[in-house]
Subunit: 332 residues, 2 copies
DNA sequence: TTGTACGCGTTATCAG
DNA sequence: CTGATAACGCGTACAA
């Protein structure tokens, strides 16, 4: 392995000078700088990140923990976070936590090993994890999901407002029996219960609330689960003319599930999702959805982590993303 | 920060003994081991990965380089690679190569890549990269795309066989004017030209080759590009009754593009993709596709990298994934 | 402007 | 079975 020492010898200077050149620090003569750069090229020298990290105590890496990366929403999010981090000179390491709670605890243990400078946690299920989180040793920002009562910075989806807007939009389109396809209920306040209550509120305000509620539950947040929910809904004879899916991923499955049963969107049932994943506009029919400003969220989360790296004791904050209602074919 | 030194002092032993306990090495008395473990718990000690890496020269991390992670194919691949690596005790760090190269100093460019014990490179479009790669200093496996003439291990898609099967299937379904939507042509042999030629061969064998060929080119490998290609195809008056899309991502765009022009799949045009991304079965119509065994590919790629970490000079090999033709609604 | 000496936390070697 | 010592490669005082 080529070290700084080698480069220094080759260029006829000291290690320190090489270090200064590599890090673009001043105090190096132009001629010397050229010689050093030449020596670097010739020798194929690369900085040793481990040594640098060991010395500085900073890794320059932000962890991004997501349940699954092959769900469209999370991969899209990852993309945006990488961009935002890059703009600040940070790299992003993606950790997959898996949907199960044990997986998330494990991932946290692993992320300790990886020594991030900070962690952005986008998680669905976090039971019993908050205890461990407080001793993680680096800043943590919760992104888009359950909040921990102000213990961490929290960048959240416009859950209430978004779902209310979506539900209201269905009503405006003439829907009278509006159902919701919603994720696995967990104890405590989380994104699922929040969205569910927002849905109920919107219906109540318009006098459309059904009793019993038209809730079609999911056991997982996958396309397959969405499809199964749609099947169950149709097979049990519910007559619904509008459906709110709590995420676009679910909506993709629902769309398919309705097609399986010969129901057409939007003719028989109108359908609206939440997230505006890249696929949404390409589906047939294209999917109406609540489009939170993901870029804003990614940007905010990274900004908060980076800030906290330098000022660990700043008080935590709550940040809700702006959103737009995107009307496409599925609710026309 | 709590160091081994601190733990050693607390337990009344030497650093070395603590190290032995932490790494489950033998040669430590049971009583001493207990004392050390207790001291670790009490102090909240965590191994410092940077120091370990600096010393050992191994990181336990495999890099996975992909152009974009929010394309369904790559995020799915990432998922499988993470699984395969985890089974062998390795972590995976995803690197996105799609972004334009910044003007970093040579020594810093790719320095992040140096933290890897090995690299799995998927579909990289960085020109002149192969020069640098040979001096990367760690094993590299090419996955699924461009091959570098036997310089690296290469796990490839069943490009020829898969596209031939797909094209043949369209012919079997009665298609007579079969087109292909294919990616940006690059110099040299790559996945795109390979698939294109396989398509031509299949047509020639059946006497269906058109002159001029029904090639609808893409400038990028995105859904949007697929949609645009479909628009151009229809608008230019081509009468095509079967379409091969070189990837499912493209196919999703094409599906939408055809719908935009009022063409129905499969009634007016049959469409088949390549990859079998998770979404494929949920589209309406569900998408017929060539389904390479991605799990096999991920497994193989990881296996090869890990092998080569321990035996760097083993001769390189070429490995072609098995595949299945998955017939769904889009070609019925 | 350049060079020297030392420390970062861990592990390998070798002696006890 | 345990402990002392010397690296690993880089960055930072501080000296020249």
């Amino acid at each position: 392995m080529v070290t700084m020492e080698d480069v220094a010898r080759l260029a006829g200077v000291s290690k320190m000078t090489v270090s200064n050149v590599v890090n673009n620090r001043g105090g190096v003569g132009d001629l010397v700088r050229q010689r050093v750069l030449e020596a670097i090229r010739e020798s194929g020298y690369r900085v040793n990140v481990s040594a640098r990290t060991l010395k500085s105590g900073r890794t320059g890496v932000i962890g991004l923990a997501v349940p699954e990366i092959d769900l469209p929403y999370f991969s899209h999010l990852a993309d945006l976070v990488i961009d935002a981090a890059a703009r600040r000179g940070y790299h992003v390491a993606i950790e997959r936590t898996g949907a199960a709670e044990t997986g998330e605890a494990d991932a946290l243990a692993h992320s300790r090993l990886l020594q991030f400078d900070g962690l952005i946690l986008s998680a669905v299920a976090l039971d019993g994890l908050d205890e461990r989180l407080t001793e993680a040793g680096y800043p943590i920002v919760m992104l888009g999901e359950r909040d921990f009562g102000g213990r961490f910075d929290h960048v959240s989806m416009p859950n209430e407002a978004g779902i209310k807007a979506a539900t209201g939009h269905l009503a405006d389109q003439g829907c009278r029996r509006i159902g919701i396809v919603s994720g696995p209920a967990r104890e405590g306040v989380n994104v699922v219960t929040r969205r569910y209550h927002a849905y109920l509120d919107a219906l109540t305000e318009r006098g459309l609330a059904a009793d019993p509620p038209l809730l079609f539950p999911l056991d997982r947040m996958t396309m397959e689960a969405g499809r199964a929910a749609a099947h169950r809904m149709v097979d049990s004879g519910h007559e619904v003319d509008g459906l709110v899916a709590v995420t676009d991923t679910i909506a993709i499955g629902v769309l398919r599930g309705l097609a399986d049963r010969g129901l057409r969107v939007p003719d028989d049932v109108r359908l609206i999702g939440f997230d505006d994943v890249p696929e949404a506009r390409f589906l047939v029919p294209s999917l109406s959805t609540v489009a939170p400003d993901h870029r804003w969220m990614a940007e905010k989360a990274v900004e908060l982590v980076v800030q906290r790296v330098h000022a660990p004791s700043r008080p935590t904050g709550e940040y809700v993303a702006p959103f737009e209602l995107v009307i496409r074919e599925s609710t026309r």
